[in-house]
């Protein structure tokens, strides 16, 4: 079983900025798996009753928590936008190099705008959970 082909032989290719989007998709995906862990912990502590929830509440409302939420939200928005790009590819759309580069630019622009709006909402005065 030793000599099987290994998949990411990325170092042999000249760098193209679409590759950055590809690796960011993986990084944001792994980050979202961690965020899911945090989200489930939040649900579980709410299910354990008012006392248990009151103990974790301070962790939710500090600035470090908001920074983590901002990261998770940015990861979610990017992974969602680029994921839709992947789904379009899987349907056979936009696979030409020029199209892939255009959609990459679109994903970056859309993610930056949406993430900026959401991060403002997280840090706005009087924000609820976020």
């Amino acid at each position: 079983m030793a000599e099987r082909p290994l998949s990411p032989h990325i170092t042999v290719y000249r760098w193209a900025y679409t590759m950055t989007l590809s690796i960011l998709h993986r990084i944001s995906g792994v980050a979202l798996a961690v965020a899911l862990l945090g989200f489930v912990l939040w649900l579980v502590s709410a299910s354990l009753g008012a006392d248990a929830y009151a103990r974790i509440l301070p962790l939710l409302i500090g600035v470090p928590a908001k920074l983590l939420m901002a990261l998770a939200v940015a990861a979610l928005i990017y992974h969602l936008c680029n994921g839709l790009r992947h789904l379009a590819w899987d349907l056979g759309w936009g696979f030409e190099r020029a199209d892939a580069r255009r959609s990459a630019a679109l994903v970056i622009a859309a993610s930056l705008i949406a993430a900026a709006v959401c991060i403002y909402l997280i840090f706005r005065p009087g924000a609820g959970i976020a």
Binding site: M1, L6, S7, P8, R26, G29, V30, L32, A33, L36, L37, F39, V40, L43, V44, A46, S47, A50, Y53, A54, L57, L60, I61, V73, L76, I77, L80, G83, L84, H86, L87, D90, C118, L121, I122, A127, G128, I129, A130
Partner: protein
């Protein structure tokens, strides 16, 4: 009819015959998660307060428990498939890879089951 030699099959060379299933489920869960994620993002950003009463009321209200349970379940499923690919690409050696894959499976199943259980518990409590 298979053109592969019996020895190749015994040594686990070539296709495991479920690669398309993995690929397809990753896409199907992605398509299901897209609207759920947008809903959850907006809902959490507009949640009025983070205290116990408002949070448990929001979790138990209307269709929220159904959507939350679906998000956690499909999210954990999609995350498991994605983390599996990452482990297969970056963790080398049979034993470390197998241990990492098993740990990932167990953690994701634990996440899905405890998340769904928590949502149900809150929803049934606020319904009672």
């Amino acid at each position: 009819m298979s053109l592969r030699a019996p020895l190749a099959r015994a040594l686990h060379h070539g296709t495991a015959r479920d690669g398309v299933g993995h690929w397809l489920i990753q896409r199907v869960t992605a398509a299901a998660l897209a609207p759920l994620a947008i809903w959850l993002l907006f809902a959490l950003l507009w949640l009025p307060a983070a205290d116990y009463a408002s949070v448990s009321r929001w979790i138990g209200a209307g269709v929220h428990p159904v959507l939350l349970a679906l998000t956690v379940l499909i999210g954990a499923w999609h995350a498991w498939l994605g983390v599996q690919v990452v482990i297969e690409d970056y963790v080398h050696g049979f034993l470390p890879k197998t241990i990492a894959l098993l740990c990932s499976l167990f953690v994701h199943v634990l996440l899905a089951s405890s998340g769904v259980y928590a949502v149900l518990r809150i929803a049934l409590r606020s319904a009672a």
